[in-house]
C-alpha cells in the first residue's frame, strides 16, 4: 500500500464518519461541526487528486463562508437548545434507509461497471488551465453565475428587509 492509498483511506473514512455524524447528531451545532470536518477531508481528497485550487476554494467557500453562515443562523435563532421531534417515525425511517442503501448499491455497481480499469493515472490539471477555460469556453456560464449571485443578493435583501413603519 503506498502513501496515496493510505491518505485516501484516512480522508475517506473521516469524511464518511463526518457525514454520518451530520445526520445523527440531535444538536444542529454538532451537525454543523461534523459537516465542517467532512468538507475538510474532502479538501484533502482534492489535493490528493492534484486539484489544489479546488481544495483551496472548497475551504474558503464552504468551511470559511457557508458554514459560518449556518453557525450564525443556528446561534441567532438559538436552535441549539430547541427540543422538538426532529425525526420521522420508525417505519418510514426504515424505508428511507432501505431506499438509501439500494441507491448506494446501484451507484457502486455503476462505478465499478462503467469505469473498468481506467485508473486515476493521468497527470494533474494545472490551475492555469482552469482559468483559461473559465474565461474562454465557459465565459457565458461564468457571467451567468455572477448574475445568479446578484439575484441572490437582491432576493435576500427583499426577504429580510424590515418594512418601514408607517408612522
Amino acid at each position: 500500500m503506498n502513501a496515496e492509498q493510505i491518505c485516501f483511506i484516512i480522508f475517506g473514512l473521516i469524511s464518511l464518519s463526518g457525514a454520518i455524524a451530520v445526520i445523527c447528531f440531535r444538536n444542529p451545532i454538532y451537525s454543523a461541526l461534523a459537516l465542517i470536518v467532512t468538507f475538510f477531508s474532502q479538501a484533502g481528497l482534492f489535493i490528493l487528486l492534484g486539484a489544489p485550487f479546488v481544495a483551496a476554494a472548497q475551504v474558503i467557500v464552504y468551511a470559511g463562508a457557508i458554514m459560518v453562515l449556518f453557525l450564525f443562523v443556528i446561534m441567532l435563532l438559538n436552535l441549539g437548545t430547541l427540543s422538538t421531534r426532529t425525526n420521522i417515525g420508525g417505519k418510514m425511517k426504515g424505508f428511507a434507509i432501505f431506499l438509501g442503501i439500494l441507491f448506494a448499491i446501484e451507484g457502486i455497481y455503476i462505478a465499478f461497471k462503467a469505469t473498468g480499469d481506467s485508473g486515476v493515472a493521468r497527470e494533474p490539471v494545472e490551475t492555469k488551465d482552469i482559468g483559461k477555460l473559465l474565461f474562454s469556453e465557459y465565459l457565458l456560464p461564468f457571467e451567468v453565475t455572477s448574475l445568479i449571485l446578484l439575484a441572490a443578493l437582491i432576493g435576500i435583501i427583499a426577504l429580510v428587509k424590515r418594512e418601514k413603519s408607517n408612522t
Binding site: A56, I60, F72, T127
Partner: protein
C-alpha cells in the same frame, strides 16, 4: 524526497515555530511598554531588565492557575474552541517567505517552509477558519454576553473577508502568480516599485480588513470589555484563556508578515539583501523582513491607542459601503489599465487612487442624500412628561 531537503524543512519548521512563540512573548511585552510610553506612564518594568521577562512570568502564572470549567458550558466544544483559534494562526506562517535563499553545501535553500503554488489562497483559506474558535467558544460558554460577542464576530469576519480577498486581486494580476515568494520577488528592490504604491487604496483596504480579522482595537467588538465584559472569552481561565490571547498576537504577527510580502516588498530593501556571501545575504534578507514586520506590528499598537472602537453599525457601514467598493474599483481599474497601457505601473497606481477617490465620493454622496431626517429634539416639557410617565 531526499534527506537534505527533509532535514532543512524540519529545521525551518522548528525555527519558525519557535520564532513565532517568542515573537508573541515579545509582542505582549512591547504592547504594554509601548502603551505605557504612549500614555506617558511606565508599563511593566520590574521582572528582568526593562521588564523583558514579564511575559514569561505571565505564562507561568497562567500555567499554574486552576483549570476551571463552569458547569453550564457545552464541554467538548468549550475545550476544543481555543485550539481551533490557535492552530490556524500557527499554520498560516508555513507559506510566508521570510527571506531570500541561503546556500549551504552547494544547495540553495529557500527561507520559506513550503512554496506551494496556491500560496495566497492557502493564507485566505486558513485565516477564514479562525472565526470558528471565536464563534464556538462563545456559543459553548452558554453566556449571553459571550454569545453576543460570537454573533458580532461571525458577521464581522464574513464581511471583512470579502474585502481581504478582493483587495489582493490587483496584486495577483500584476505578479501573475499566487505564490507569496513570486509576489515578493517580483516587486524588486526599490520602494517605489512595491505594491503598496501601485495599489495604494487596495493596500489601505487590506490593512483595515486585516485589523478587523485579527480583532484588534478599532474593531474589537467581539470582546469589547466595556459592553460585553470580555465577549467570547469571558468564561475562559488559565491556559485556555492564554491560548486565546496567544492566538490574537500570533494572528497579528502572521498578518503583518503576509502584508509585508504582499505589499511592502518582502525581503527587499535597496539591494541591501544582495550584499555579502551566499549565507550572509540570506541572513540580511531575513533581517530586513524581520524589521519590516516589526515596524508593521508597531503600527498595530499605535492604532490601538489612536482610534476609538467603532459602533457596530459603523463597522458594517465601513466594511460594506466603503472598503468593498474601493477594493472592487481596484480590481476593475487595474485590469483595464493593465490591458490599455501594457502594464505601466505608474498609470495603474494613479488610476487606482483616482478611482478610489471617485468611488468614495459617490458612496459618501449617496449616503448623505439618503440620510433620514433627524428626529426633532424633544422639548424639555416633553421630557419631563416622559419622565413622569415612566416613573409613575
Amino acid at each position: 524526497m531526499d534527506s537534505v531537503l527533509l532535514l532543512s524543512t524540519i529545521v525551518k519548521i522548528v525555527v519558525v515555530a519557535h520564532l513565532l512563540i517568542i515573537g508573541v512573548m515579545v509582542m505582549i511585552w512591547a504592547e504594554r511598554r509601548v502603551s505605557g510610553w504612549m500614555q506617558d506612564r511606565l508599563g511593566p518594568n520590574r521582572v528582568g531588565p526593562q521588564g523583558l521577562l514579564q511575559p514569561i512570568a505571565d505564562g507561568i502564572k497562567f500555567l499554574f492557575k486552576e483549570e476551571l470549567i463552569p458547569n453550564h458550558v457545552d464541554k467538548p466544544i468549550y475545550v476544543l474552541a481555543p485550539a481551533l483559534l490557535l492552530v490556524p494562526a500557527m499554520i498560516t506562517v508555513a507559506v510566508v517567505p521570510f527571506g531570500n535563499s541561503i546556500e549551504i553545501a552547494g544547495r540553495e535553500i529557500f527561507l520559506q517552509i513550503a512554496d506551494i503554488n496556491i500560496g495566497i489562497l492557502y493564507v485566505l483559506a486558513i485565516t477564514s477558519l479562525g472565526v470558528y474558535g471565536v464563534v464556538l467558544g462563545a456559543w459553548a460558554s452558554n453566556n449571553k454576553y459571550s454569545l453576543l460577542g460570537g454573533l458580532r464576530s461571525s458577521a464581522q469576519m464574513i464581511s471583512y473577508e470579502l474585502t481581504l480577498g478582493l483587495s489582493i486581486i490587483g496584486v495577483l494580476m500584476l505578479s501573475s502568480s499566487l505564490s507569496l515568494r513570486d509576489i515578493a520577488a517580483e516587486q524588486g528592490a526599490y520602494p517605489w516599485k512595491w505594491n503598496f504604491l501601485i495599489h495604494f487604496p487596495a493596500f489601505l483596504a487590506f490593512t483595515t480588513a486585516m485589523f478587523a480579522e485579527t480583532n484588534r482595537l478599532p474593531f474589537d467588538l467581539a470582546e469589547a470589555e466595556q459592553e460585553l465584559v470580555a465577549g467570547y472569552h469571558t468564561e475562559y481561565s488559565s491556559m485556555k484563556f492564554a491560548m486565546f490571547f496567544m492566538a490574537e498576537y500570533m494572528n497579528m504577527i502572521v498578518g503583518s508578515a503576509v502584508t509585508v510580502s504582499l505589499f511592502l516588498g518582502g525581503w527587499h530593501f535597496f539591494g541591501l539583501e544582495n550584499l555579502g556571501g551566499p549565507v550572509l545575504s540570506g541572513l540580511i534578507s531575513f533581517g530586513i523582513f524581520f524589521i519590516k514586520t516589526a515596524i508593521f506590528l508597531f503600527v498595530f499598537i499605535w492604532v490601538r491607542w489612536t482610534l476609538p472602537r467603532f459602533r457596530y453599525d459603523g463597522l458594517m457601514n465601513l466594511g460594506w459601503k466603503f472598503l468593498l467598493p474601493v477594493a472592487l474599483s481596484s480590481v476593475v481599474v487595474t485590469g483595464i489599465l493593465w490591458v490599455i497601457t501594457n502594464g505601466n505601473r505608474l498609470a495603474i497606481g494613479i488610476g487606482n487612487v483616482v478611482a478610489a477617490f471617485i468611488v468614495i465620493c459617490i458612496v459618501g454622496g449617496l449616503l448623505v442624500m439618503n440620510k433620514p431626517p433627524e428626529p426633532a429634539a424633544p422639548e424639555i416639557s416633553d421630557l419631563n412628561a416622559l419622565e413622569r410617565n415612566t416613573t409613575g
